[in-house]
């Protein structure tokens, strides 16, 4: 850890805030405030999603339970799906992209700051609209509200409208943030920061932003059609009037599958920063990892019909989807190979971020290997719509968004606050979560694959052979939640009470570690020319060379005690 005092730059301070702090943050065009809003909001919704998950798991702890009514269960399920994906995982990824990517490329801000700010506010507006549903009747149409069930004839109350408006607002916000990020990454890179020198996490930001520009408008179109169907006698999804319920399935699955890939690319991007820095080696092959991330975005999104094997579509479409999803084995496998090859021969410092990163790799690998089974068409007819798919999705997405997200949180927390997160609590949280995810979701694999327990059901029956599986899964969910809460508490406590750090606590290679912790509003007073893919390493070396020249006589003249 080197002290910021040795840095050859001017430090300007003394601009007093003119307005209350929350007004400053809310109206700030600074990408760091935008990132802070998104990350804080996302972690808050992680807590809410946990509460909803635990309520559902309590209901499913014993057979034929009556703890929740069917309607309440369906509402929890619908809110959980929207909250976990749209108000936790995606905004968490975008929050880190907004905070870190401009720093990594040596920019002093983003290209279209007001657009990004509008995006963050649309995200908050969307969340407000979703939960305002509690004022009347929240949606009960499921995680993906398939028409005709989500049509006006079957759910005439405004819950589905609230869901559609909320999802639409949030998605629009994400698209605006993605536009801001794309423009920033294209136009505002520091001198010498060629694409081939761009840090892995900034590459992930660029790929995810482009992906959002493709899938976001598809979802917005689908939601618009749903709202027209529900409120203006539309027939987009009305099978008997010339529309097609399957159209919704195609459009929504393009978005959800793309979002799934986005979350994984975010996690792999963060892990791709953490592993090399804590192994003190460069990434084994940057080009292969970047190309793989692009391939994941393209192939993963093209595999959307992998979710529709049971629907009345032609077998050719199913084989197409299977080809796309099995092809994903290559890019994911290459990334895992390169991460392991990076660790090999390094000097690995097993700090909390690396623990969480390793946990993310384990969980994602289990989830994706199960997805391989779900992609095999005839096997999909057996495994899809069972708790086996719940378990696969949760391993991959909890692995990506929670383990990967917490790895990113531990990693960049010192940059955001100037303090490190408590290491002991971090480790305790990690091991609790690791036990929790295994105990919570491995039994669901068994219940789904062996006994065919169906997904999304508010109860299961005695004598179907899944009593023990579900009880263990409920216990595991509570352990997982306890572990997650520890990190949330750790983050809150460490904001004020963490050990103060300098600007470069991890000896990272990218430029965000050149800025102060927390960075000043303009990020950098002056920027070096970027000459390699590891600019901060070059700077450290230059500083070491110069200070060796300067400091030697000083040391010799120190008085002897």
């Amino acid at each position: 850890m080197s002290a910021p005092a040795g840095r050859p730059e001017l430090v300007i301070d003394g601009f007093p805030p003119r307005r209350p702090r929350w007004v400053e943050i809310a109206t700030s065009p600074d990408h760091k405030d935008l990132g802070r809003i998104l990350i804080t909001g996302a972690l808050g919704f992680l807590f809410i999603a946990l509460v909803e998950l635990l309520l559902m798991r309590l209901q499913l702890a014993i057979p034929e339970n009556t703890f929740l009514t069917p309607v309440t269960f369906n509402r929890m399920l619908s809110l959980y799906g929207a909250t976990a994906i749209l108000f936790f995982a995606v905004p968490l990824a975008l929050g880190f992209f907004c905070y870190v990517a401009p720093l990594q490329i040596g920019a002093r801000g983003t290209a279209l700051p007001r657009l990004g700010q509008l995006g963050a506010w649309l995200f908050i507006a969307g969340a407000t609209v979703l939960y305002a549903g509690f004022l009347f009747t929240p949606t009960e149409a499921g995680v993906n509200p398939l028409p005709p069930l989500s049509g006006i004839a079957f759910l005439p109350n405004n819950g589905v409208d609230a869901w559609a408006a909320a999802t639409g607002l949030a998605t629009l916000g994400f698209v605006l943030i993605a536009i801001d990020l794309v423009a920033t990454l294209r136009r505002l890179r520091a001198p010498g920061m060629a694409w081939r020198r761009l840090p892995i996490f900034s590459w992930a930001a660029a790929i995810c932003s482009w992906l959002l520009l493709v899938i976001g408008p598809v979802m917005l179109a689908a939601i618009t059609m749903l709202l027209i169907d529900r409120n203006f006698n539309g027939i987009f999804f009305a099978g008997d009037a010339g529309g097609a319920p399957l159209l919704w399935q195609h459009l929504s699955w393009i978005f959800y599958t793309g979002a799934y890939m986005l979350i994984l690319i975010f996690a792999l991007g963060a892990i791709g920063e953490i592993v090399p820095a804590l192994a003190r080696k460069p990434l084994f092959n940057r080009g292969a990892v970047i190309a793989s991330m692009v391939a994941i975005a393209v192939l993963g999104t093209l595999a959307w019909m992998q979710n529709m094997y049971t629907a009345p579509i032609g077998i050719g479409w199913m084989y197409f989807a299977m080809a796309m999803s099995l092809a994903l084995i290559v890019p994911f496998g290459l990334i895992f190979f390169n991460l392991i090859a990076t660790l090999t021969g390094g000097t690995v410092r097993m700090r909390a971020p690396l623990l969480f990163a390793a946990g993310a790799i384990v969980a994602i690998s289990i989830g994706l290997a199960s997805e391989v089974c779900h992609s095999m068409v005839a096997l999909g007819w057996r495994l899809q719509h069972t708790t086996d798919s719940t378990a696969a999705t949760h391993f991959a997405l909890v692995g990506g968004a929670v383990f990967g997200g917490f790895a990113a949180l531990h990693w960049w927390f010192p940059k955001m606050t100037g303090r490190t997160m408590g290491e002991t609590l971090g480790r305790l949280s990690f091991w609790t979560m690791a036990i929790g995810i295994l105990v919570a979701f491995v039994p669901l694999f068994i219940a789904g694959a062996e006994e065919g327990q169906v997904v999304d059901a508010y109860k299961f029956f005695n004598g179907t052979g899944v009593n023990a599986d579900n009880l263990i899964a409920t216990i595991g969910a509570f352990v997982l939640a306890a572990g997650i809460l520890m990190t949330l508490v750790n983050a809150i406590l460490s904001r004020e009470g963490g050990a103060p750090t300098g600007h470069d606590p991890w000896q990272g290679d990218s430029l965000e570690w050149f800025a102060l912790s927390p960075p000043e509003p303009h990020n950098f007073d002056l920027l070096p020319d970027v000459r390699s893919a590891r600019p901060m390493r070059d700077i450290r070396k230059a500083i070491a060379r110069r200070s060796a020249r300067v400091e030697r006589p000083g040391r010799e003249s120190q008085p002897v005690a």
Partner: protein, 232 residues
């Protein structure tokens, strides 16, 4: 759960293939990861060699992974094609036609399955089919999307309004098989179950006859009530 139809035999074999493939992938990634993490723990002050890999090793790893993916793809296509083949009615089965399966229109409705047999008989909740006979269910829905799923007999398929989906099977053993609808369809979704009773062809024909008589009797009674000016 055990397979009781040619199609589910194929799916069961594919389940083992998928299980082995997933196990290989999980073990490969995690053993490599955990080994690297344990083996290369930091010693203080040591600076590792800054090795990076060239293109050749990436291409080799990609080729191995690609071959693995292609192998799974080919196996899946082979087994899927066998699993969706219409089975052939055996000697012990119902001998109606040599090439055509027994067609039963299966209607999903909130929250009950209706089965319409050939020659006008129908039943709710319980499907009765003859053993060793090729059966084709034509899945339709009158309201929302439902998924018909009796895992012992066939892979699950959706009943979507406005489109017909198909399930084929041929039960190899008499007995009762249970199933549960597998797409969220509203409040009573979890209670939307079904039961397939596989019986001998003789019992099947007797069932159809008695069902027809019962339906006729019920209709006659309703018509009689209406003619007498009462509300049925």
């Amino acid at each position: 759960m055990a397979p009781h139809s040619p199609g589910t035999d194929q799916i069961d074999t594919l389940l083992w293939i998928g299980f082995v493939a997933a196990a290989i992938l999980i073990v490969a990634v995690n053993v490599g990861l955990l080994y690297a993490l344990r083996r290369y723990r930091a010693e203080r002050g040591a600076e590792p060699r800054q090795i990076t890999g060239g293109r050749r090793i990436q291409l080799r790893v990609a080729a191995v992974l690609g071959i693995f993916a292609v192998a799974i793809f080919v196996l899946s296509v082979l087994y899927t094609d066998k699993a969706r083949e219409t089975p052939v009615t055996g000697a012990a089965g119902l001998q109606v036609s040599h090439s055509e399966p027994l067609k039963i229109t299966t209607t999903g409705q909130q929250w009950l399955w209706r089965y319409d047999y050939p020659n006008e008989a129908f039943s709710y909740y319980k499907l009765v089919v003859p053993v060793d006979t090729a059966v084709e269910l034509d899945l339709v829905s009158t309201d929302v999307v439902h998924t018909w799923d009796v895992p012992d007999l066939a892979g699950k398929r959706d009943a979507v309004p406005g489109k017909t989906n198909h399930v084929v099977f041929s039960a190899d053993e008499e007995g009762t098989y249970f199933g549960q609808a597998a797409t969220l369809s509203g409040q009573a979704y979890a209670a939307m179950r079904t039961e397939v009773e596989v019986v001998s062809p003789k019992e099947y024909e007797a069932f159809i006859e008695s069902q027809k008589e019962d339906i006729q009797a019920a209709q006659d009674r309703v018509v009689g009530l209406i003619e007498n000016g009462e509300t049925p």
